[in-house]
Each structure stands twice: as structure tokens, then as C-alpha cells.
């Protein structure tokens, strides 16, 4: 065996651990999206400075909301695509509430999803924009998986209106409900040809 110091051995160990190529590419693509938004923001910032109009102020607020929503959609789409195993298995929400006792809010049954025939599989802890959230795994009648996120509204998400977008082939819907911010992610449904 080649003699090596503790430093060399530790470096060899960590050198073997790398991000998977697909994960690395996803993270790099987020950086690119951020840069595009940034340059657009500067353009409108200059226009706002020149015009000083109230109309542009409203527009700027809209941009900030779009920026935040795009960031959330990208984060949620990436988590959905990972298809991580649930930490807590339950078939109803009360079972989940008992197990996920570190949440500082109560999981809610969304009115938005009623009548869609979704079956609960379980959940795990996660975060959205750095805030603790529940990532709830659901299955619909066709067998496809959907991921529902619930987290308390904060000063940023409270300003977001309900919206739908597509990020990395994942359809993302977000809305507010009874003090919670909810996001649903599912594979994009393509129109039948």
C-alpha cells in the first residue's frame, strides 16, 4: 500500500465524491436563468430612472414577483424530478400531521385539489426558498406522481398571485390557501396528437 498522510487520504476520498452530471447541469442552468433576469432588470431599472413613472413602478413589482415565482418553479421542478423516497408513509393527512411534528404549521387538505382523485403516498421535510416545507407525494388515477408542497406564507410568497408555469418539463402551479403557500408539481401534460 502506498503510504499517504491523513490529508492525502481525505482528499482522495472527497475527490471521489462529485455531483452527478445531470444535477450539475441543472444547477448551472439556474445560474444562466438568473443572469438573463438580471440583465433584463437593469434595462427596466434604467427606464424607470428616466421616466420616473408610476406605471413602471407597478411593472417593476410585477417583475420581482415573476422573478420569485420562476425561482420557486425551478426549485420545485428540480425536487419533483429527483423523485426522492418519502420519509413518512401515510394514507391520510391526519397520519402525516402526527408524524411530521417538526413543522411549525398545520398541513391542510387543499380545496384546490378536491375531486381530482389524488391518493396520498407520504411526505418528507424539505425547504422552499430556504423556508421549512412539507413535500407531499400524491398519485392520481392514471398512476402518475404529483408533488404538493405546503409552507407558511411569508412576506415574499404572500405577494404572489396564483399562477401556472412549466419548468424543465414539469408543470408547476402555485397558490395561497388558508395562510399557506402551496405548490403542485407534475409532469407536463402534452396535448394529444
Amino acid at each position: 500500500m502506498k503510504p499517504s498522510t491523513l490529508r492525502e487520504t481525505l482528499r482522495a476520498h472527497y475527490d471521489e465524491e462529485s455531483l452527478r452530471p445531470e444535477t450539475l447541469q441543472r444547477l448551472l442552468s439556474l445560474e444562466g436563468a438568473g443572469r438573463r433576469r438580471k440583465s433584463l432588470g437593469y434595462g427596466w431599472g434604467l427606464a424607470a430612472a428616466l421616466l420616473l413613472s408610476l406605471g413602471l413602478l407597478f411593472f417593476w413589482n410585477g417583475m420581482r414577483q415573476n422573478d420569485l415565482a420562476a425561482g420557486i418553479a425551478a426549485e420545485v421542478a428540480m425536487n419533483h424530478a429527483k423523485d426522492l423516497a418519502v420519509e413518512f408513509v401515510a394514507t391520510d393527512l391526519s397520519g402525516l400531521r402526527k408524524q411530521m411534528d417538526k413543522l411549525d404549521f398545520t398541513l391542510l387538505e387543499s380545496h384546490h385539489l378536491k375531486g381530482r382523485g389524488l391518493r396520498l403516498l407520504g411526505a418528507r421535510y424539505c425547504s422552499i426558498q430556504g423556508q421549512l416545507a412539507a413535500q407531499i407525494r400524491l398519485k392520481d388515477g392514471t398512476g402518475s406522481t404529483q408533488t404538493l408542497y405546503q409552507t407558511p406564507l411569508d412576506s415574499s410568497t404572500a405577494r404572489l398571485s396564483a399562477r401556472r408555469s412549466v419548468a424543465a418539463g414539469i408543470e408547476v402551479q402555485m397558490w395561497q390557501e388558508d395562510g399557506l403557500f402551496m405548490v403542485l408539481a407534475e409532469a407536463e401534460r402534452k396535448p394529444e396528437e
Binding site: 487520504t9 455531483l19 439556474l30
Partner: protein, 165 residues
């Protein structure tokens, strides 16, 4: 700020961020989640893509999530006299251990021990730089690295003793 070598591009920045996250979590999947979370936060704040800043964001996110889950408490550690030394032992040939032992032993270290050992041995941080990043006293940092080293070497010795006929 650290004298450690700065990454040459975003790929290297992310890979090193991932390895630091792994030193905290001890789990690949959790490390990916942690890095993603920190990366999104960095992009949102439009802060410079600096390694030290990325480490700080990763660390803060890790502590925040773990505290909320009630999984770890980062209690202060008092350093004993023999633990207040430099990091020269990392490069001493007497401290050598094999790769398989290190991989196993790292699982038994506490997150703060793995973190301090990673920063010292892999990233080349000094005790002072680790103390600044982690906001811990110098003695505590020395103690964490020394204890991590002792735990790894005791496991190495144990393996060799078990291997004897």
C-alpha cells in the same frame, strides 16, 4: 478571508460546495438538496460567486434546517491542553490511514467534526480561517479536528488489530 485556492469556474465552485455539504450531512442526497437550496438563495441575492460565501450559505442553511428538525445541537466544546496544537499532523506520515478506513470512520464523526476536518484537510483552511467561517473559538476548532483525527485513527488501529491472526 481564506487563502484556500479559489475555484476556476462555476463547475468547480459547485463541486466544492457539494463536497462541503457532504461533509456536513454525511449523505449524498441531502448534500445535493442542501447545495441546491444554497445555490438558489445565492442566485436570488445576486451575491458574488465566491467559495467562502457559498460555504457560509450552505452552513447557515444546514444549521437552520437541522435546528428546526431538532436533530442536532451545536454545543460548545472545551479544548483540552493536548488538543491545542496546529494542523501539522494532517501531513505527518505517522498519521496515515487507508481510504476504506477513512470512508467508514467519517460516518461515525459528528457533523461539526467532519466539517472542521474537511475544511482543514481538503480545503486547506487554517485553524483561524475555520474559526472565522464557523464562528467558533480557535481552541474549539483545534479540538474538533484533533478529535476527528483520533476517532479515525482509533478505528484504523481497531481494524488492524482485528486483522491480526
Amino acid at each position: 478571508m481564506s487563502q484556500a485556492r479559489q475555484p476556476k469556474g462555476l463547475e468547480e465552485l459547485l463541486q466544492r460546495g457539494f463536497r462541503f455539504a457532504l461533509s456536513l450531512t454525511g449523505d449524498r442526497q441531502e448534500a445535493e438538496d442542501l447545495l441546491q437550496d444554497a445555490w438558489v438563495a445565492m442566485l436570488r441575492s445576486r451575491s458574488p460567486r465566491h467559495l467562502g460565501y457559498l460555504f457560509q450559505v450552505i452552513r447557515n442553511r444546514f444549521l437552520d434546517l437541522q435546528r428546526r428538525r431538532g436533530l442536532v445541537s451545536f454545543e460548545p466544546i472545551e479544548a483540552s491542553e493536548d488538543e491545542l496544537g496546529g494542523l501539522g499532523f494532517l501531513d505527518a506520515t505517522q498519521s496515515r490511514v487507508d481510504l476504506a478506513t477513512v470512508e467508514q470512520a467519517l460516518r461515525y464523526l459528528r457533523p461539526q467534526e467532519r466539517e472542521a476536518l474537511f475544511l482543514a484537510a481538503v480545503e486547506g483552511y487554517t485553524v483561524k480561517e475555520i474559526a472565522e467561517l464557523t464562528e467558533r473559538p480557535l481552541g474549539t476548532v483545534s479540538s474538533l479536528v484533533q478529535r476527528a483525527r483520533k476517532k479515525i485513527q482509533s478505528r484504523f488501529r481497531g481494524d488492524h488489530e482485528r486483522a491480526l491472526p
